[in-house]
């Protein structure tokens, strides 16, 4: 059984102009030891999806699903008290901005040990020992000294390492990393990604990596879900999705990025024409159809997943037509 099983997740946000369908019928599973990358542009619903799993959505947002299971527990019906116990201990989150998600008024040591002492019955000494162990594990030298420092005394890379250590304090089964390296320099990004991959393997954790960076996804993920306008449009192994991108949006995204050695310098980059549709009001059909070269009248109808190869699903009813053109 998968560690996390999400079926038909829907997030609706009532607004003055009508209901905003932020996430519609998103389904995926994550196994222990596996990294799922959710990739999409801003507004695609990737961050809301992760917040929905952690039950951290803003109060106005309405969450529905046919299934939302975490290691046998039904997250849709679980009492709030028990959800609080899971959150932070068995499922942990790493946010994008380490400067805004660390409390500037508390020391690193204070913040690191807080979660552990809340969730597990451990003494201050044991918690401190664990904090030192983890800071060393994430490659921070002089861990004992660091415990007494405040966030502003650390560089961006160090802060992000502290965030990772904090997420690992209670030995979680699932870690959700929302753009964990976007705010970092490129050389530090590579180090943090290597560290995450190493720790995931060592602790046999499942990881959901939320990012807009296709390079990061290709290098780190086992499985990929590409989101567009609140829906998963393509999902499968990283290999399948990158070697044979089959949704026109996935292909469009890949054509947009300059790749040294592959795209000719100075030549026009691929572009996706048009703009993301408004998600307020009734939605029907494929949300990408007004930007798609393969759009046909049937794209306004009911959408379903096609499976070009086992384990590779594409939410497109024009797969055959795409092939004929290509």
């Amino acid at each position: 059984m998968a560690l996390l099983d999400v079926q038909d997740l829907v997030i609706d946000i009532p607004t003055a102009g009508g209901v905003l369908h932020a996430v519609s019928e998103v389904s995926f599973t994550v196994e222990r030891g596996e990294t799922l990358a959710i990739v999409g542009e801003s507004g695609s619903g990737k961050s809301l999806t992760s917040l929905a799993i952690m039950d951290l959505l803003p109060r106005v947002a309405q969450r529905r699903a046919t299934r939302l299971n975490f290691d046998g527990a039904d997250l849709l019906t679980i009492p709030a008290r028990q959800m609080r116990k899971l959150r932070g201990s068995r499922m942990a989150m790493i946010f994008q901005e380490p400067m805004t998600s660390l409390n500037p008024a508390y020391t690193i040591g204070n913040q690191l040990t807080e979660a552990l002492r809340c969730h597990d019955d451990v003494g201050a000494e044991a918690a401190r020992a664990r904090a030192i162990e983890l800071l060393e594990r994430v490659g921070i030298a002089g861990a004992e000294r660091r415990l007494l420092q405040y966030p502003h005394q650390l560089s961006g890379g160090l802060r992000q390492r502290v965030m990772i250590a904090m997420a690992l304090m209670c030995k979680p089964d699932l870690i959700i990393a929302d753009e964990p390296t976007t705010a970092l320099d490129v050389t530090i990004q590579a180090q943090i990604l290597r560290l995450l991959a190493e720790l995931k393997k060592e602790l046999n954790m499942a990881m959901i990596l939320i990012t807009h960076d296709l390079g990061v996804v290709a290098r780190v993920a086992d499985k990929v879900a590409v989101m567009y306008a609140g829906a998963v449009v393509e999902r499968g192994s990283a290999r399948a999705v990158f070697k044979a991108p089959s949704h026109p949006y996935t292909r469009g995204l890949l054509n947009c990025i300059p790749v040294p050695g592959r795209t000719a310098p100075g030549a026009p980059l691929g572009a996706i024409r048009g703009q993301v549709p408004n998600l307020i009001g009734r939605l029907a059909g494929c949300a990408f159809r007004n930007r798609c070269d393969f759009a046909a009248p049937e794209c306004a109808g009911e959408m379903h997943f096609e499976t070009p190869t086992p384990g590779h699903d594409v939410r497109c009813v024009r797969l055959a037509a795409q092939k004929a053109v290509a």
Binding site: T187, F242, G261
Partner: protein
């Protein structure tokens, strides 16, 4: 007109930084002895990580911050000698974040037309016509003339910023991370637009970025900055084919191409951020350098000439001797 449109001669910028209530202040050297020449019509890229001094350099180029020492010349005339309005006519910025660089209370027509007002060009009607022409040029629909930035998407806002920068037809455009706040699909549109405009208007770009893939795509020449110093300056092709400085090499290795067969590379450089306050006896990159020698701790690296540029590294010097 000379071939060199923008020149920096030994430009440094130091800041006095307070160390706390009872300590004296210390000197932070944000930019150290930078000399560069940007040719007319080229895309000159400046690459570096946060804290390397890129943005301080950009501010000095725009005349917003005077250098502590050294000279900046546009077309052979020192910036310091001309007034700000005259500088602004020849050199214009495009900033990273179109959400904070556009005044939310001004309409698009006002934003794009402001430089015309500042420089006293034409009357209201001719300014409006000029603004319309600019919107057409950057691919914005005319109906947005009286819209406000809040009604625009990120890509549209960046187009407004580009229109505003170009309305006075400057010679040099300083692009400070112009696409890093944008989504990938929008980034592609803006990069395409920048290249198109450059060809059409014969612009010179000074392009500041930390994204090596973007730099490889549009730069003619590249300078790599580390802790306020230029450590390597090369042609695009040369730099990407055979980086000379170990820091450049680490930067290039860190570029993650979307290739599922490859993992995350090990760049072999430490994460210890070098302290910009410390005085470096030797090479500033030495604490992180995987190939550092003893001499790197004690002696600043000399400039080694390469066929298409130069780099400052003791190893290159030793190779040349051997």
């Amino acid at each position: 007109m000379s071939d060199i449109v923008l020149e920096l001669r030994d430009v440094s910028r130091r800041f006095e930084v307070s160390q706390g209530a009872f300590k004296g202040s210390a000197t932070l050297t944000a930019v150290a002895q930078v000399s560069l020449q940007v040719k007319r019509g080229e895309v000159f890229a400046l690459v570096g990580e946060s804290g390397s001094g890129k943005s301080t350099l950009a501010k000095m180029l725009l005349g917003l911050l005077p250098p502590s020492s050294g000279e900046i010349l546009i077309d052979g005339t020192p910036i310091a000698a001309s007034d700000r309005i005259a500088v602004a006519r020849r050199i214009q910025p495009i900033f990273q974040d179109p959400y904070s660089s556009l005044n939310p209370r001004k309409s698009i027509a006002q934003l794009v037309g402001l430089p015309l007002v500042v420089h006293n060009v034409g009357d209201a009607a001719s300014r409006r016509a000029k603004v319309v022409e600019m919107l057409d040029l950057v691919g914005l629909p005319r109906r947005l003339l009286d819209a406000y930035p809040g009604q625009l998407s990120g890509g549209q806002r960046q187009r407004v910023a580009i229109a505003r920068a170009l309305v006075m037809r400057p010679e040099v455009v300083i692009c400070d991370e112009p696409t890093s706040a944008l989504d990938v699909s929008v980034q592609a549109q803006i990069l395409n637009l920048l290249l198109e405009l450059k060809r059409e208007l014969g612009l010179t770009y000074f392009f500041i970025s930390h994204n090596l893939a973007v730099v490889e795509h549009l730069a003619d020449r590249v300078a790599v900055m580390y802790l306020g110093r230029i450590v390597e300056e090369r042609t695009r092709a040369g730099l990407f084919a055979q980086p000379g400085h170990p820091y450049t090499r680490a930067l290039l290795e860190s570029v993650l191409t979307p290739d599922p067969d490859l993992g995350v590379p090990d760049t072999h450089i430490g994460s210890a951020m070098a302290n910009p306050m410390a005085e470096h006896a030797g090479c500033p990159f030495q604490p992180r350098c995987p190939t550092a020698l003893n001499i790197c701790k004690t002696t600043p690296p000399p400039v080694s000439a390469l066929p298409d540029g130069w780099a400052t590294c003791h190893l290159l010097q030793q190779e040349a001797v051997a």
